[in-house]
Point group: C2
Chain length 191, copies 2
DNA sequence: TTCATTTCTTCACAAATGTGAATGAGAATG
DNA sequence: CATTCTCATTCACATTTGTGAAGAAATGAA
């Protein structure tokens, strides 16, 4: 029995076959078509997903009504809206698939039962949250200290999948610049 | 027995007098003069501090050798460099007092003993970390979506203590702009 | 107080980024 | 295939922000 979910979890914590089987029963396979939502703004996020294949985007509506892209997640990434999930409060973000996406999904209740059944799984979760937290610190630092062109170059170096697989106006939004500016940056940096 | 440390903790979790006494024995009172360090870049952060009075600044050196201000913490705030603390790795940040500061400090080992003695204290810690995490998400969103003047106005509205108590070139760095730009923004926004 | 040092402000100009419009390329649809 | 629609590119120009220099103001030390 090997799938990407188990493979990923085993990177963080050794679990035996019994534990793995318990764990698998708690997850449900879900498919999203492009533009389907994992979570809509205003809803309470009651699930955590692990992406087997595909690509999703976190975004919110800014005050002037534009989509503001906050993050991406791709195959082998975990996804949830932590604030909403943890505090059972309505989410200010939406998460939608921007490629056909297959997931393993676990609900809040199921996750808590899993923690009782497989206590070591809590360590996995904690490490994953830390990873997201440190990623956010890094992102804030980049937005603070780098100019647009540098942020683009860094994204290209560190997360090329975003630039390869995401529409440019979404990438621009994620970088905090206008689509036209990203177009200009790409022209200057490649030539 | 009432001090700001206990008062703050009780906001998050009800603890009885026995627990409070155990807890107090694990913390040590420390004073920092202005420009004294709580943590220096390159060191491993082995402590968590609770600020009773005063003000500290997190910063790192950018590639061009300038101080880049990452955060502030004031009285009744907790302070540590999570990444270094959690993973016992050397810190890329420094934390220094920018006002005379009094602290309660607890070491990594002492904190873990405290978790055994007062298990409920883990809940406090978890909530504090979540708070920092959500704050960082918000900061990244602001840096992404707002222009310099809007970031300044928002800081003034939400954290006026920073503008009142921190030198302007540090505030500018925190906002991700040049000191002269902050000066210009202040001139235009007040008139 | 006086002097030295640091920080803040102001200015002129440079560089970076935003904006609206026009065009073009490609994908989707019929 | 033709048509539409969406997105990317380009351009001219506006706005925002950065930069270096000069001086003013504030701070700290003798």
């Amino acid at each position: 029995m090997t799938n990407s979910l188990i493979r990923q979890i085993l990177l963080y914590e050794k679990l035996d076959d019994v534990e793995i089987n318990i764990l698998l029963k708690r997850f449900e396979a879900v498919s999203l078509k492009t533009d389907d939502y994992f979570l809509k703004e205003g809803q309470i996020c009651r699930n955590v997903g692990f992406i087997e294949t595909g690509l999703v985007m976190y975004y919110k509506l800014s005050e002037d009504g534009h989509e503001l892209v906050c993050d991406f997640a791709k195959e082998n990434d975990w996804m949830t809206q932590y604030q909403s999930f943890i505090s059972t409060s309505s989410s200010s973000l939406s998460i939608k698939a921007i490629e056909p996406t297959t997931l393993y999904v676990i609900s809040f209740d199921s996750l808590n039962k899993l923690y009782e059944e497989v206590p070591r799984f809590e360590k996995v979760t904690r490490q994953l949250i830390e990873k997201v937290f440190f990623g956010m610190v890094k992102r804030a630092g980049d937005l603070q200290a780098l100019k647009a062109e540098e942020r683009y170059e860094k994204l290209l170096a560190e997360n090329p999948f975003i630039i390869q697989r995401v529409q440019q106006y979404y990438v621009a939004s994620y970088l905090g610049i206008a689509p036209q500016s990203l177009s200009r940056i790409r022209k200057n940096s490649s030539g």
